[in-house]
């Protein structure tokens, strides 16, 4: 967490987050700070607790204990309104298989209260080249297509914090390009992005900082770029 004098107030501040998963203390004391416009790559072996950390930051699960856990200054996961500012992409597409891309995005637009949702969805679908398939059920899509729609779902409500849990797994090249352009755009509009992956090579050129999760602690990692 090298503080190279970044003037902007930290969007997300997490200190000494602890979480026991089953009987194993997955997160011993994870501390993390994200400022707008930053793209942090978090690596670590499978089962090191990357997904658990992402779920805690997304408000899905509660940490056992944490000194501070604030989003835009306010204390975090309790209030539902806070989750409005977070977009989540997980290696599972998190879409309803029986519904079509359009219906899925319509549903999420409604619960995230996205203004003039229809144009927003149409423009996003065009950008990921899914305009033609928008009314087929998601289960008929390929993995890459599902992940693209899932990315749209995550940025639909223009979140300030974008959490991505191993988004690159199983993607075709076109989807990888789309994902990278989305990340680049996110960085430009001053979003904070946290990407977890077990393959540190992925999206290296996008990253501003690298972290590694070892023995339940976050260690900053300098890569020779």
């Amino acid at each position: 967490m090298s503080k190279t004098g970044t003037p902007a107030a930290p969007l997300l501040l997490a200190q000494n987050v602890q979480k026991k998963f089953g009987r194993r203390k997955v997160l011993k004391s994870a501390s993390l700070q994200l400022t707008p416009g930053e793209c942090v790559i978090l690596t670590g072996e499978n089962g090191a607790g990357k997904s658990t950390l992402i779920k805690i930051l997304a408000g899905i699960i509660q940490a056992d204990a944490a000194d501070t856990l604030t989003l835009c200054g306010e204390p975090f996961p309790e209030s539902a309104a806070q989750r409005q500012k977070i977009g989540l992409v997980s290696h599972q597409p998190m879409l309803y298989n029986e519904l079509s891309a359009w219906e899925n995005l319509r549903f999420f637009a409604e619960i995230y209260a996205v203004p003039n949702a229809d144009e927003r969805i149409r423009s996003l679908l065009q950008r990921i080249g899914m305009e033609s398939r928008k009314d087929d059920p998601v289960r008929t899509y390929s993995r890459g297509m599902q992940q693209r729609v899932s990315i749209c779902r995550a940025i639909l409500h223009d979140p300030e914090l974008l959490l991505m849990d191993e988004p690159f797994t199983g993607l075709d090249t076109k989807s990888v390009q789309i994902l990278e352009t989305m990340i680049r755009e996110g960085k430009n509009d001053q979003k904070a992005i946290l990407i977890t992956t077990h393959d540190p090579m992925a999206a290296r050129q996008l990253a501003t900082r690298f972290l590694r999760l070892e023995k339940g602690q976050l260690v900053s990692q300098e890569f020779e770029l």
Binding site: K20, F21, G22, R23, R24
Partner: protein, 232 residues
């Protein structure tokens, strides 16, 4: 710790055994034989004691569940697990002895009497919760889900009793009160109360042992994980 039983609770065990032996002595020697039921009436004392412990254990399990939900202390979940298991054993024995006692008096093995039906439904809830406990691995989730199911059971069983009480009832027996047409002489009442106390002590001893067993089993699981970590 090779002992047959954890030393800590030896005193409790001894007291419980003594009390039970006295209770048995009272039942067979002190309490008079009931006139119109004959000797089988003596089953009544232990039957009520077992049924009482079954119900008490259900309430104890529910109490531990509430404490677990508020304090998230895994030990309460283990205690609740112990209480449920012991409660089930006592309830089944109570129902069994109840039907044996009922056989000569109403010459049916089973009566749809509200109290008996509710106790059996309580046993079903016990068994259900034990199945639930076995099929969840993560201790935190298991504790949370089991506590809630235990509280639901604790709410539902008395409701069952009220809803079926208006339904059909042969013997309006209230726990410890006058039994169906059986006049309770003072000696009988004393024997009854004494055996209820004796079995409550026995229950506490069993609960302590079963809880210790659950605690040691949990420690074994945790050290298993530590050993795994050391291998890396």
């Amino acid at each position: 710790m090779q002992s047959l039983f954890p030393k800590k609770y030896l005193l409790l065990d001894i007291i419980a055994t003594i009390l039970i032996l006295c209770a048995a002595a009272m039942v067979f020697l002190y309490a008079p034989t009931e006139t119109n039921m004959g000797l089988v009436q003596k089953v009544f004392y232990f039957h009520v004691a077992y049924a009482w412990v079954g119900m008490l254990s259900f309430v104890v399990a529910c109490a531990f569940s509430i404490v677990y939900l508020s304090k998230k202390d895994l030990r309460c979940d283990l205690a609740s697990e112990a209480a449920v298991e012991i409660g089930l054993v006592f309830t089944l024995l109570a129902v069994g002895s109840g039907s044996i006692w009922a056989r000569p008096i109403w010459n049916t093995w089973w009566t749809w009497d509200p109290r008996l039906t509710t106790t059996t439904i309580m046993a079903l809830v016990y068994i259900g919760s034990m199945f639930l406990r076995k099929s969840i691995d993560d201790p935190n989730k298991r504790g949370r889900i089991l506590s809630i199911y235990c509280i639901i059971g604790c709410a539902s069983v008395p409701l069952t009793f009220f809803s079926i009480r208006g339904y059909r009832s042969i013997h309006p027996v209230v726990i410890g009160g006058a039994s169906s047409g059986m006049n309770m002489t003072p000696e009988m009442l004393q024997t009854l109360i004494f055996s209820v106390i004796a079995f409550t002590a026995f229950y506490l001893a069993l609960l302590a042992h079963r809880y210790t067993y659950a605690k040691v089993r949990e420690d074994v699981e945790i050290t298993k994980l530590e050993l795994e970590d050391m291998d890396e």
